[in-house]
């Protein structure tokens, strides 16, 4: 772990997160549940407070100082998000509540207007429910076929199986995770997109987990849609981003109707505002958008190379430490993986494990992780999952490992 110590100063980083100094039941908080939602650095909290205390009004429609300033601050987030994803243009950034809404937006708008009944949507065998259910709803309402690309036993996308799904030429869209929230697997986005494009399909990446650990370049991977959710990226809840190629957004009908997204309204006929406003009906999550900007700047200030190196080292450390525990099974052994480790213990159910860990101040997630079909594929009812963030330390992983040993004894 000495390499990361050189790359960045973990003590300084931890000091940016006020919650990390909280005690839980008189124990130090060991927060290993960042994949569910990350903690917030001071800069994010300060940006939100600053907006509310010094510079707040509704945006886009006001001619006064407060509204102008707030609009400017909010719209700067669009620039920051475009930069973060290396989007061609800021107008390709659509603000949504979270990844779930982003995927639903695409399923409703692109799915119902551009995909034709009889076409197929391809997902993978390791999707989060948020990237399964919208496509099932599209299937049931619009006559789309849903195809699932299986995973290998090591928890990677089975590329041969994936490619075979295109054989009949009916696939219109691929919607696939860029990193599994259960197995930690990164999917080979560039190859996935190339195969989709070679077969005339568009591709959406669910980057909810991927963008937390690694630099994303939507042009380099040649994506058509990419989404992420602010609260996992050290930002506020209530704000997320859908990126899509401008020409796709232009061709898509709006999703929600209301204020902000119109060009003109009469009872007979309403015309839509330009992209991205066409997709942003109603008063947006203004304060949260401003908070997300601070989160993006925080990420940029630490830098993805350092984040990726830190988390890769932590993950290696965790895999080594946990593998050494008797009776543990680690799910997923992908070559290319992010900071998420799922496991089961032979002696104890994941819930019981999580409850006992919690009593020692160690927060992990247990259950199906919103990925029930993947649980079935793995042949388990659920797992316990430890996930790492920018503030996680090797000592926290050691505490997890030691406590797991004790839990085995407790249930022996």
């Amino acid at each position: 772990m000495n390499d990361t110590a050189q790359i960045f100063d973990i003590t300084a980083i931890r000091a940016e997160f006020p919650i990390l100094s909280q005690k839980v039941r008189d124990k130090d908080l060991v927060f290993l549940d960042s994949a569910a939602s990350a903690q917030k650095p001071r800069a994010v909290i300060a940006a939100m407070v600053g907006a509310m205390e010094t510079q707040y009004a509704n945006i886009h429609r006001g001619l006064h100082w407060m509204s102008e300033r707030t609009t400017e601050a909010y719209e700067l987030t669009r620039d920051a998000a475009a930069r973060l994803l290396n989007a061609r243009d800021r107008s390709e950034i659509v603000f949504v509540r979270n990844s779930t809404e982003a995927i639903n937006l695409v399923a409703h708008s692109y799915g119902r207007a551009i995909l034709k009944p009889g076409q197929a949507v391809v997902i993978s065998g390791m999707e989060h429910h948020s990237n399964i259910v919208p496509w099932q709803m599209l299937r049931d309402s619009h006559g789309i076929e849903l195809r699932v690309a299986d995973i290998t036993d090591s928890g990677e996308l089975d590329m041969a199986a994936y490619e075979a799904l295109f054989a009949d030429g009916r696939v219109g869209l691929v919607a696939i995770t860029h990193m599994s929230n259960v197995l930690g697997t990164y999917t080979p986005a560039g190859r996935i997109a190339a195969i989709a494009h070679a077969n005339g399909a568009k591709v959406l990446f669910d980057g909810s987990q991927a963008i937390v650990h690694r630099r994303i370049d939507v042009q380099a991977i040649d994506a058509d849609f990419y989404c992420f959710t602010g609260h996992k990226l050290y930002g506020p809840t209530g704000i997320g981003v859908l990126w899509a190629r401008r020409e796709l957004l232009d061709a898509m009908p709006p999703f929600l109707g209301g204020g902000e997204m119109i060009a003109s309204v009469s009872y007979e006929r309403t015309t839509w505002a330009e992209v991205p406003h066409k997709f942003e009906a109603g008063t947006p999550a203004i304060i949260e958008g401003i908070g997300l900007h601070a989160a993006i700047e925080f990420i940029e200030s630490v830098g993805y190379p350092a984040i990726a190196a830190h988390e890769a080292a932590l993950t290696d450390h965790a895999l080594a430490k946990l593998s050494a525990i008797e009776g543990i099974t680690i799910l997923g052994r992908a070559q290319d993986r992010g900071g998420v480790v799922s496991f089961t213990l032979d002696q104890a159910h994941p819930h019981d494990v999580a409850t006992l860990l919690d009593r020692q101040g160690i927060a992990v997630r247990a259950g199906q992780h919103c990925a029930e079909p993947l649980m079935r594929r793995l042949g388990v009812d659920g797992t316990a999952r430890a996930s790492f963030g920018i503030y996680t330390t090797p000592a926290e992983i050691d505490a997890l490992a030691t406590t797991l040993e004790r839990i085995r004894e407790f249930f022996a």
Partner: protein
């Protein structure tokens, strides 16, 4: 290390969680229903056989889940034995109240469920304890599914 969880993870619960006594599918039954806790993947199936007077003659269950839900199902089977459906429903309401609050006004009536009394101190585990009961209620009503939320 874990002395503080012995209130919930007591000997009775651990024993029943590991080796439930009534985790069997009834060969002959009058009604059955399933309970799901979608957030965590717990699932309990309950089978019921009525006596001639309409009371519960026999109960069996199958469960995938944690020690708490299995132990709760196992205790439930014994607690509802020979009870009328109305009685059973009332018992569920009292049990649910106890699981949520830790208080049980007339505990004597369901002493067999006492080992679960501490679950109220573990808010996210309350659903584990009540899940088998939701399945039982669904079975009594002739429904097929229940969720514990």
């Amino acid at each position: 290390m874990f002395e503080d969880v012995r209130d919930l993870y007591n000997a009775e619960i651990i024993a029943r969680g590991r080796r439930p006594r009534h985790m069997t599918r009834l060969a002959a039954f009058d009604t059955t229903a399933r309970g799901d806790n979608p957030m965590c993947g717990d699932r309990v199936q309950v089978w019921l056989k009525y006596a001639a007077d309409g009371s519960i003659a026999e109960t069996g269950f199958d469960a995938r889940g944690c020690d708490i839900s299995k132990a709760s199902a196992d205790l439930m089977v014994e607690a509802v034995q020979n009870r009328s459906p109305a009685d059973t429903r009332a018992m569920f309401e009292r049990f649910r109240a106890m699981a949520q609050s830790g208080q049980c006004p007339d505990c004597a009536a369901f002493a067999p469920l006492k080992p679960l009394a501490a679950v109220h101190a573990y808010p996210s585990r309350v659903k584990c304890a009540t899940l088998p009961w939701h399945a039982l209620m669904a079975a009594l009503e002739g429904a097929k599914d229940a969720t514990s939320e």
